[in-house]
């Protein structure tokens, strides 16, 4: 026993676990410094400016419109993805191209781990650049006082897409160590984006919604301008796309760990599990997208939907007056308040004092089309006391209009708003109304400054779009309208006061007009 006590104490050698993260960090730092991605970033920055930012500046200053092209139709991903895939393929093929595969296989660190460090460095550069470029673009939008809130979830989708492109490109390079791996990976990236666009345009529901360039149900429809203004951008579909793209990235990275030289048996089994997990993730996301349905505020996926996202965004309205009546808009639309009040003033002055005349005008959120009865009305009138509800998100606001033939003139906006008001005031609803309602609408429009001769063009444009063919302002409706318009203002006012309820109910005929 004495010998045992006399024996020197043997200290256990500390495990080198603390050195592993340090070594990994050093390896990552080296890979970051030796990466090819920074060399391509100036080119991507130029393309980003040309293809993602520049076209967006031609749209109205609302986030839903500004980001329709670059986020909704995925042009930020198209600008980044294929180039990132190409450079990642170049980095992934590095050891093989240089004939170093055997040399690095026998190092202490598994080859898969070293490859992951190279991939991580490439991806860090790419994702960081993506976030910086998008951040600068949004900062510039903010400088231009673009209304609403940015679609941050779609930024996350873009960053995940860049990660997925990087992983797929890296896997191509790792499996095919050739100088042609980079252009082939970039080419595959472009083709994937092309097919995504081709399929995405045709799919307004179902699995096709998972495609990163599909804007259906998210940035499309009449309400594209009001996401992030009246209600939050719904995160349901972005979350599904993030899961899908992350699944692709995980599966591609798992594939790089499958070859015999990647590591030991346990590591390769882990790579197999990772690959299968990635495939399962992507498949789950496709299944989730298949359950998506269009709601008033965008695409809802029941399994991912949070009730908190249905809460409207609180705001302090920006108010003005038209013919003495308060008109209140969302502050995101503040810049157009003078246009709206100027457009409504003559029309409101005509009906002032009538029993069914509005006492207040407020802006309401434009709803996504829910199918069935066509697009919802731009202006509705209802309540006690009557309130005018303006769904301005359905209109092209005055000024730049990126996806129209040219800028929207204030006169055109004014005419459209007056037509929508007269349409709502006579109670036409979503239809074209009775002949009497059409005649009274025509008389109201003339009183608001739109001559009869100009009205057929305005009506045709409202129905079939700008430039639609229009006939002359003739026929019994316009004859009756001319008769009503020739009455003294007081007489016309008195007739409307007496017959407004019957007019709205559609109980009058043209012969009953004065």
């Amino acid at each position: 026993m004495t010998a045992a006590t006399a024996a020197p104490v043997r200290h256990r050698t500390p495990r080198a676990t603390s050195a592993i993260p340090l070594n990994a960090a050093r390896l990552l730092r080296i890979e970051l410094r030796r990466n090819a991605m920074p060399w391509i970033l100036p080119l991507i920055a130029a393309l980003f400016w040309f293809d993602s930012y520049r076209p967006s500046t031609g749209t109205a200053q609302l986030y839903g419109l500004r980001t329709f092209w670059n986020m909704g139709q995925g042009h930020t991903i198209i600008d980044f993805g294929p180039f990132v895939a190409g450079v990642a393929a170049w980095m992934g093929s590095r050891d093989g191209r240089r004939g170093l595969a055997d040399l690095v296989t026998v190092t202490a660190r598994p080859r898969w781990a070293a490859q992951l460090a190279t991939w991580a460095a490439t991806t860090i550069w790419a994702v960081a650049a993506y976030l910086v470029f998008v951040g600068v673009m949004f900062a510039w939008y903010a400088h231009q006082s673009v209304g609403g809130t940015p679609p941050w979830w779609w930024v996350a989708v873009g960053a995940t897409a860049v990660t997925a492109f990087s992983a797929v490109g890296f896997a191509i390079g790792a499996y095919w160590p050739s100088r042609f791996a980079a252009p082939v990976a970039a080419f595959i990236g472009f083709l994937a984006m092309a097919l995504s666009s081709q399929t995405g345009f045709n799919y307004t529901s179902g699995w096709g919604l998972i495609l990163p360039t599909n804007s259906n149900g998210t940035f499309d429809g009449n309400a594209q301008a009001d996401s992030g203004i009246f209600y939050p951008w719904l995160p349901d579909l972005p979350i599904a796309r993030i899961i899908f793209l992350a699944g692709i990235a995980v599966a591609a990275l798992g594939l790089t760990g499958l070859p015999a030289r990647a590591g030991g048996p346990w590591l390769r089994r882990a790579a197999t599990v990772v690959t299968l997990a990635g495939v399962a993730l992507a498949g789950t996301a496709v299944g989730l997208a298949d359950t998506a349905r269009l709601s008033a505020h965008g695409m809802v996926i029941p399994a991912l939907h949070g009730a908190a996202n249905d809460e409207p965004i609180a705001y302090t309205p920006a108010c003005g007056r038209a013919a003495g009546m308060p008109v209140c808009l969302n502050p995101a639309y503040r810049r157009w308040l003078p246009d709206v009040t100027a457009a409504l003033a003559p029309a409101l002055a005509e009906v002032a004092g009538l029993p069914g005349a509005p006492v207040h005008a407020i802006q309401v959120a434009a709803a996504y089309p829910s199918g069935g009865s066509g697009p919802p009305q731009v202006i509705t009138l209802g309540g006690h006391p009557p309130v005018l509800r303006l769904s301005l998100g359905q209109l092209d606001m005055p000024g730049p209009c990126g996806f129209c033939g040219g800028p929207i003139a204030t006169e055109l906006f004014t005419e459209q708003l007056r037509l929508a008001f007269a349409h709502a005031f006579v109670g036409m609803g979503n239809g074209s109304g009775s002949p009497v309602q059409q005649a009274v609408q025509a008389a109201l429009l003339r009183g608001a400054g739109i001559p009869f001769a100009a009205q057929p063009r305005l009506l045709a444009a409202a129905k079939n779009g700008p430039g639609a063919a229009a006939g002359p302002a003739t026929g019994p409706v316009y004859a009756a309208a001319r008769g009503l318009a020739t009455l003294p203002a007081a007489a016309g006012h008195a007739w409307l006061a007496a017959h407004l309820a019957a007019l709205r109910a559609g109980r009058l005929t043209l012969k009953e007009l004065p």
Partner: protein, 231 residues
Amino acid sequence: MTTAGLHRPVPEGAPPPVAGTRRDRAATGWRLARLYLVSRRVPMALALLAGLGVLLWAALHWHWNIAGGAAARQFIPLTIQTGAAAVIAVTTYGPFGEPERAAGRWLPWLRLGAAVALTAVAFGALAAGAVAGGMPGGTLALLRNLGGMAGIGLLSAAVLGGAFGWTGPMAYLLITEGALAHGSTTPWVWPARPPHDRGGAICACLVLAAGLVLITVRGPRESGRDSGPAS
């Protein structure tokens, strides 16, 4: 241990080897060209160009069109032409650097010959693929677009290095799509112009000529000589 395979050294003072006959020179030239083409992975490039031709044929035959305007209709054929230009650009990459430049007197001519020949082969492969019908702009537009894009690829190889020469045609594809989508008509975006447009053809020819001259005279950027992404 044997002496088999050893060559007797040329004794000092012996006359230099007599210049070869015309046949010998031709054999040497052919060997030089073959080695150059192999070092540039031209066989793989030919295989890829043939694959792109088949892909174009499939896209036209099965109408893989994107719904929409001119930009959408031309996207897949233009992407395939871009792929061909990218392959041509990447073949300029050489791994030897300074020793090759120092020893290879014929190197500029080899670079020129390879670029011209590959462009011609790419046109042939894509024209064969376009036999399926429905190629936007027809063969003339294909020749103009491919030639101009190959020029861009050669220019970007001269600037960024052969390994990254593919980025030029790919970037040009995005610019072209943006121009088509927004109705731009500058001749520098020649795919957006009609097939018989003189301005577009002149611009494409100028770019191709500039690319060929630069790649012939200067060659692609090399990592050993210049700092760049191909290091």
